[in-house]
Amino acid sequence: MKNYFLRRFIYSLFTIFLIATVTFFMMHSIPGGPFTREKPVPPEIMRALNAKYHLDDPLIVQYFDYLKGLVTFDLGPSFSKIGTSVNDLIKAGFPITAKVGFFAVLLITVLGVSVGIISALRQNRPIDYFVMFMATLGVTIPSFVLATVFIFVFAGKLGWFPPFGLASPLGYVGPVIALSGYSLSFVARLTRSSMLEVLRQDYIRTARANGLKELSVLGKHAIKNALIPVVTYLGPTIAALMTGSFVVERIFAIPGIGRYFVESVSNRDYTTIMGVTVLYAAFYVLMVFLVDVLYAIIDPRIKFEKESG
């Protein structure tokens, strides 16, 4: 078991390294440098800028500098925000993004799973129809629509919540709802169908045939099995939340890392794009690793399949 986790961990590190490499070469193969603007910059200034940011070094040297930077957690200076480093941007933005993201994950797992289970246990009853109706709507409405409708109705017309920023705790409501809407609906649907599938399984019939109480049949035998697919979806959920933060932070004017990313994309701020991409990817890979660990703990079969496979 320890062996398995160690192998998975090394594999994760390797994945991060590959991602960093691919991102580096992708960004450096963009025609024109980061200082190419519509208005041509005088060649001597260009040369000075390139020298300042070591862009005149051979690519391979730049690559190793970049890797060295990654290992020492130094992501270099921002090209568009002069005087700020990418590290500064991340330091400022990441905690905010993480906080909103944390509440969203909490909402998704707690509410999504419980609503899905209730819906499965009340299959084809009004509450099931209601939950599934909401969940189906939830997966069809993009986060930016959810966010703008929230601002329009609850912040604008009704005035219940502040439309922008996180100054008051109420400010979190909109971003968290917009961010988690899709995944919440998805998890609720997934939990429901997984629970229904499990309830059809032979071992549930066995549990009942052995006279176990319904509380144990559902609460012990069904739930743990039903959660397996939900756990595997947690990785993609986190990815969805991270990318979702791009739009949600933009709409709600939250100074998180997602907004910096979108800004850096439109400003062609290559170091920031690279830094944030690698950060996101690393974070994601780490989450996938943790999900794998959780998965192996829940499902005893997994170690063997992976070990021998």
Binding site: Q201, Y203, R205, T206, A209, N210, G211, S216, H221, D299
Partner: protein
Amino acid sequence: MKKPLLEVNNIKTSFFSHLGEIQAVRGSSFILNEGDVLGIVGESGSGKSVTALSIMGLIDNPGRIKEGEILFGGEDLVKKSQTELSEIRGNEISMIFQDPMTSLNPVYTIENQMVEVIRRHNKDMNKREAIAKAVEMLTLVGIPEPEKRIKSYPHEFSGGMRQRVMIATALSCGPRLLIADEPTTALDVTIQAQILDLMNDLKQRVNASIILITHDLGVIAEICDQIIVMYGGTVMEKGTAKDIFYSPQNPYTVGLYQSVPKAGKTGEKQRLIPIEGSPPDLMHPPKGCPFSPRCPHAMKVCLEKPVPMFKLSETHSSACWLLHKDAPAVGKYTKGVESVG
């Protein structure tokens, strides 16, 4: 004279889908005596498994028992609530299923699952005692190194071993009735024989009545005292093993024999005769005898009127119009006495 343990009277169980009512069991009746082994034979869809699940009270939505009674030790199980039934299930009546690969919960150890059942029905047992009991049961069913193997997860066992675990769990609370629904069908042939030997052996050692459900006549012949042949949701013929094997009195039973290869007949030529046609659609069951559309001796009455049970002897009865006193004589079919009910 043996005492009856289980009396099933005219049970009707249906499933209600949006396409209509599927009448899976359409009135089946039989009696199981204490200490006996009752075999229920039939093709898939004949209602044998649903009959067993009806006894267990495990008919899930959208199905339900429409009428009839199931008397177990004098009490009608149909009238009991699920909570009451759960006290009986696994305790007085146990059941094992066809596919041992999927019948154990994959995410809990054998110990966890067995101990839970044992302590459910023996509330005064502590955990250690329950583990000891589980180990004892595993030894009984022939699991090597039970103290060690009990810590394993189901996927670490082979199919045959899992079925042994299922049997051990089912017997752990000393049930008076064990229902085995095709316990060997999903297993390899050699393992099948082992499991049957085990059941035969346990039959002597554990004082439980057994209902063995199978589509395999060979299995039935070896260990059953009583046999019921089911088709299209109804009982076609019932009797002792001797009655059914040596003087079958129903064209369906005869057809069932002819379609099965017989052991020990290698010398002479053996012809297998399949039963033509397919089993009835239980959403629209035939008016008369369910087998009539496929029956080589079908008469007009067979198609139109439901068949009553004709009594041939104390132990033997069959539902076939050929046994009516006015019916033409065909083959070895004898005339029986129509028994009402």
